[in-house]
Subunit: 746 residues, 2 copies
């Protein structure tokens, strides 16, 4: 035990390395599988090339951004004593690892897709194994790199600023170490913004463009090899759903850990681990979650063609969650002191809370908060599934309203999307209330960390979907036998459900992460309240609430513009290249790929700058409290718009899909090509940018604005040379007499 | 002058009576006009009967509601010392006067419509005169009744609680008088909720239902006498656009005055008007605005067929605004002391503000705040017009996106709506910031009061639109000569613009009103902060932000359901009544009227209860600070959703209308019945409930929730028998030494 006490801090990156080793083994297994015959590999090659072309183009512009932002960060770090130029290094590491995780995911996805198609020629079980293993590689890569990066940088900064100088672990030196570490999270989240927004624009421009000309005008099926935009469409699945989602969760994962660490510093925990147990805890939980994700992944398998793929995924998911929860219980018991004092409470709170007997939180309270986080994440996924699943009331109502035309289909979908915000918000509000009740602001943050612990598993399940989707596309393009397409369709259908629940999880995680970052920001900025009764703070709240609307508008219009360009290119190729329709001439796939790539890179700049620059302007012009109001507005409005758009899009999508098997409206059965089906296609097309571009990019928006605020917080501090709150803490510390300690039971 | 000093309080209701007298004269003039031949009066009779049938049905359910709510209010008033059972009387007065104002508006509108048609047989100038005079009757009725009601009740309560007992005008007795007066505003706003939401559902159910079968399926023009739903559609214009808008502005008008009075009580102004000048000021400004609205109305006239109707309306509007602003300048100079001390500032604010030299506000500051309010209102109208006007970028972008189908038209409209939130929110935020800067929270409230001063004129311009619309409908149904329809179309087109700008004004007024009420609520509830850094307040903010989404979802689905019922009834009549199409049989108009009436009454209950009950539950379960968080969330999210939905709807509407004259897309000209036009009809149909049901009902939602909170605020007071803030004020009052007075220049 003594060994662990002394070396726990070094164990964290080791857990990350374990994850990467497992990843390497699984990756090697996938690559070893049969990739099929000539045409399949050719098509898969186009997709892989297109995906890499996007990454290269993205990296080029991101390279500029990282260098400029890094220089600015380093320079500003030098100008205030609370930060350091080393934050620039931290930032670059975060950006690099996030980009590298995206590369790993994209690479394995473009290898696993064609191998899944080939496996589907044999059996469903084999196809699931290949596609899910591909997803696992992505999940383990993201989680492993995040833990290694954050864990090792923490060791470096902790040694550099605190232990090597004999500074207090609750004092300003530690605050500085964590400020610098925040650069890592900023780097990761910046890359995530461009990956999510750019990827979202890419995938929907290609998808909408391919559908509008291919399906509607030329009357050829989806994923038809004759459609010039079909390769771009399949690349889009990888760019948006694999790399975009991966970067999103990489960012959430890192940010929750970081925010919990910042809040954990304020906890006086003198007896174990050099007093930094509350700071280490979120990283340890993440490490455990990574290991149990590997364990859970082993349970994802089916025995025959009729087994339920969904059940297999659920089993693996629940195994990893339950095992992580159990392990976390013991870890919390072992690491934390019985009671701890939380210094971030303001005076009035302290008075208020002392009366209720909870100035001192307990380790049971911390564990209870983690459970709250797990419950919130699960409920959010279940609610999202209800609102977007086939055969449930919301989707059925849209189907019914498709019978009176395009307009009523749209009205139905918008109403479903708006209604679908109610339960998630109530769950989230209860989660905030509950986790705070159990363990204060640290509780809110650790709830988020608990929820994110099994990120590797969540991502494996998420990334499996687009791999299966691609596999189906390759099967269609290669005109493989019906049974192959049938198997990949089976996987793809499950993938649609996991995509919806994954979105619920992603937005819940983004919301809790932002709140944790928000709490950390308030602490670091040295403000005592964010009082919306003040006119300027209220004005900030309004402006913040508006940002998700303009951000969404920019994303949606970007898709519209890019899709129009795609439509024109596809029409041109049909017109100018004779023989495409008779399979005699090959379309110029690369031109469509180039259009999506260029458009997404160009269009992601404006929303990206809004997210990055607004908090800086507001913070420096109006001070930290107004910035706090802005953040609250962005978070509330962003979560609402995210849920609204994602769920409306998901519901429209499945309303359309329902027509494939035939739906009954007022006693009549309608199939594809019927008038109600056409109305449902309109809804699906509107829903595409909603659910895959603007909706999910809300996650990044709210997190990024919070992390930017956290990074600039020390600069906004009213009195840079004197932090009265920290001062008071140091004075108070000696006054916390055991007699005042009132234990709190849950 | 001495006479005025002593009797100003009695002059306020006199100004209201002046308004009502002017109304009577104008009303008699309208009724005296020729109502045309047999068929016209028959059709107008159907519309008038339908409108009254709706009012009767609405009043029946509202009667129940008012009695029950009144009893509850009276009972709860008895249980706390701060309120009184007399609040029930106040509530009933507010409800009755609001309903009565609605009746006046509806009655004159259903008389003016057919007389406008008849006048249009002669000249455009005559038609404008009749329709605008009808609108003026509505405007003067609403403003006159509001001023008389609020003014006289204030005299009663002021005498009863304060002067007859020799109590301080800044103390608790005055607070009680204003608490009781808040019941008046609650009554008015409750009726407004049902009028706006019920009216909004009515008008769009009829409109969408009439269009889907009449225009799309049967191929007959709008307002065709053969369409069974056409009378319901025309009734809807009166029910939604006249009565609904009137009740909305009646509510805003009363609520802004009340909120300013509540905040005015906190100002120590001992030298004039018995110390209540700041309390009287908003009512005096409203009275002046009413008088100058009468003056401005005289300028609305045109000389010949080619004169610009829009310019005539603008001239009248600007005359009333400028004259009111000038008069207000002198009134403020005359009524207010040079400097005044505002006691509602919290300690930290006071410290902060003393440093900047503005603890003491000046009368110039108050006037500056009023100017801010006028500027905000004007800018909001201009921005709204830009985003919804034909020929401007936003509408043109939707037209262009109509060329690629229904889906891209919808995406375009949604993007325009979202984008259109940016400028109004920046204007609003700047308005909050500016008015607070000039005169503190009283400044924010008086800015709203200044903006609302010319409500009579705004409503006259607003109500003119649906009267002209109805006049056109009657002309079409009576198959009058082309030139008549041409003249009414000219008026109707201007009416569409004024409807859009009126919505901008209504939402700006609702937003400022809610903020004023919010400030008053915080004061009355006796809380010092609303700190969103507290977990429970933040949870309240999230829940509050969600309410406009579920409210919108309920409104939109209600329209969808009611429209479906209407579609089925119209189809049934076409099927079962032979000879309709050949003008041989009369459709059963009353059945369609009954469907809209029943649906709107039934469907307005659920959203209404959400708005009324949520603040009560949250307030009593979690306390005033969490309720404050909830209100902030509702206000921010409600304003955003209101702007988004109203502007998207307006832009879709005008994109569709643009096709009537032909639009050029990529070098080709498209007219009605072209594919892009069909796509634009889809957008218009989606936009109908957006712009006329859910969008405008956001105004009522945010105001009503704030006023409910203000009314229950004394009950939520932490210590009912002791208000520490008031106590402190009384103590402080003697300490405000002239030496500390730092004058503030603007």
């Amino acid at each position: 035990m003594d060994f662990f006490y002394a070396n726990l801090i070094y164990l964290i990156p080791v857990l990350g390395i374990v994850g990467l080793i497992a990843m390497g083994i699984k990756s090697a297994w996938v690559v070893k599988q049969d990739a099929g015959d000539g045409e399949m590999t050719t098509l898969a090659g186009y997709i892989a090339d297109g995906a890499m072309a996007f990454l290269r183009a993205e990296w080029k512009i991101l390279g500029f951004f990282v260098v400029i932002a890094g220089i600015l960060l380093g320079w500003s770090g030098m100008t205030v004593h609370t930060s350091s130029p080393i934050i620039a290094l931290s930032f670059v590491c975060g950006a690099f690892l996030s980009a590298f995780a995206g590369f790993i995911g994209m690479r394995i996805a473009t290898k696993a897709n064609v191998r899944t198609t080939q496996a589907a020629r044999t059996s469903l079980a084999k196809a699931l194994k290949v596609s899910f293993t591909g997803g696992t590689v992505m999940g383990l890569g993201v989680a492993g790199l995040a833990i290694i990066g954050l864990g090792s940088l923490f060791i470096v900064f902790y040694t550099m600023y605190v232990t090597s100088k004999g500074e207090s672990v609750n004092g300003e030196a530690m605050a500085k170490a964590l400020d610098v570490l925040a650069g890592f999270s900023l780097g990761a989240e910046s890359i995530a913004l461009f990956a999510r927004v750019g990827g979202g624009i890419y995938t929907k421009a290609a998808d909408v463009g391919a559908d509008l000309v291919g399906k509607v005008e030329a009357g050829i099926p989806e994923d038809d090899v004759r459609n010039p935009a079909t390769i771009a469409d399949n690349v889009g699945d990888n760019v948006g759903d694999v790399a975009g989602m991966g970067a999103d969760l990489f960012g959430s994962y890192v940010a929750t850990m970081l925010a919990t660490m910042v809040l954990g510093r304020e906890i006086v925990s003198p007896d174990k681990f050099g007093g930094i147990a509350p700071v280490l805890l979120p990283m340890v939980i993440a490490g455990l979650g990574l290991v149990f994700s590997i364990v859970g992944a082993a349970f994802v398998k089916i025995s025959n063609e009729n087994s339920s793929v969904q059940k297999a995924l659920n089993l693996g998911n629940w195994m990893s969650i339950v095992l992580t929860a159990i392990a976390t219980f013991f870890i919390v018991q072992w690491m934390l002191p019985d009671n701890y004092t939380f210094h971030m409470l303001r005076d009035e709170d302290a008075n208020h809370v002392i009366k209720e007997g909870s100035l001192v939180f307990t380790k049971s309270g911390v564990f209870a908060s983690i459970v709250v986080g797990l419950v919130v994440g699960t409920l959010m996924s279940i609610i999202t599934e209800y609102y977007t699943a086939m055969g449930k009331r919301p989707v059925l109502s849209i189907i019914r309203q498709s019978s009176t035309g395009h307009a009523t289909n749209i009205i139905g979908g918008l109403a479903v999307g708006m209604e679908s915000t109610v339960l998630p918000i109530l769950v989230l509000a209860a989660g905030i209330y509950g986790s705070y009740h159990f363990a204060g602001l640290y509780g809110v943050a650790i709830a988020a960390a608990g929820m994110m612990a099994t990120t590797a598993m969540q991502l494996a399940i998420d990334a499996f979907g687009p791999i299966a989707d691609n596999a189906g596309g390759i099967a269609e393009m290669s005109r493989l036998p019906e049974e192959v397409r049938h198997r990949t369709d089976n996987l793809d259908a499950v993938g649609n459900t996991t995509a919806a629940t994954g979105k619920g999880f992603a937005i819940a995680s983004a919301a809790l992460t932002s709140l944790a970052l928000f709490a950390a920001f308030v602490g670091v900025a040295g403000i005592e309240h964010i009082d919306i009764y003040k006119a300027d703070v209220l004005a900030g709240l309004f402006v913040g609430g508006m940002i998700p609307f303009i951000f969404s508008a920019l994303c949606i219009s970007a898709v519209g513009r890019a899709a129009m360009a795609m439509v024109e290119e596809v029409r041109r190729q049909f017109r100018e290249i004779p023989g495409i329709m008779e399979y005699k001439a090959k379309p110029e796939y690369e031109k469509c790929v180039a259009i999506s790539t260029k458009a997404s890179i160009r269009e992601m700049v404006a929303p990206g700058l809004i997210a990055l620059i607004t908090p800086i302007i507001i913070g420096f012009a109006f001070g930290p409290e107004v910035l706090g109001g802005l953040l609250a507005g962005v978070t509330v409005s962003g979560v609402l718009m995210g849920i609204f758009q994602s769920n409306a899009g998901g519901a429209w999508d499945n309303a359309k899909k329902s027509f494939e098997k035939g739906v009954v409206i007022n006693g009549e059965t309608y199939y594809k090509k019927s008038e109600p089906h056409k109305a449902s296609v309109t809804g699906d097309t509107v829903g595409d940018p909603f659910k895959d571009t603007s909706g999910p990019s809300m996650n990044i928006l709210i997190k990024l604005m919070s992390i930017v605020s956290l990074v600039i917080a020390p600069h906004l501090h009213k009195d840079l040379n004197h932090n009265p709150r920290l001062q008071r803490q140091i004075e108070e510390r000696s006054m916390v007499a055991p007699a005042k300690t009132i234990s709190k039971k849950i």
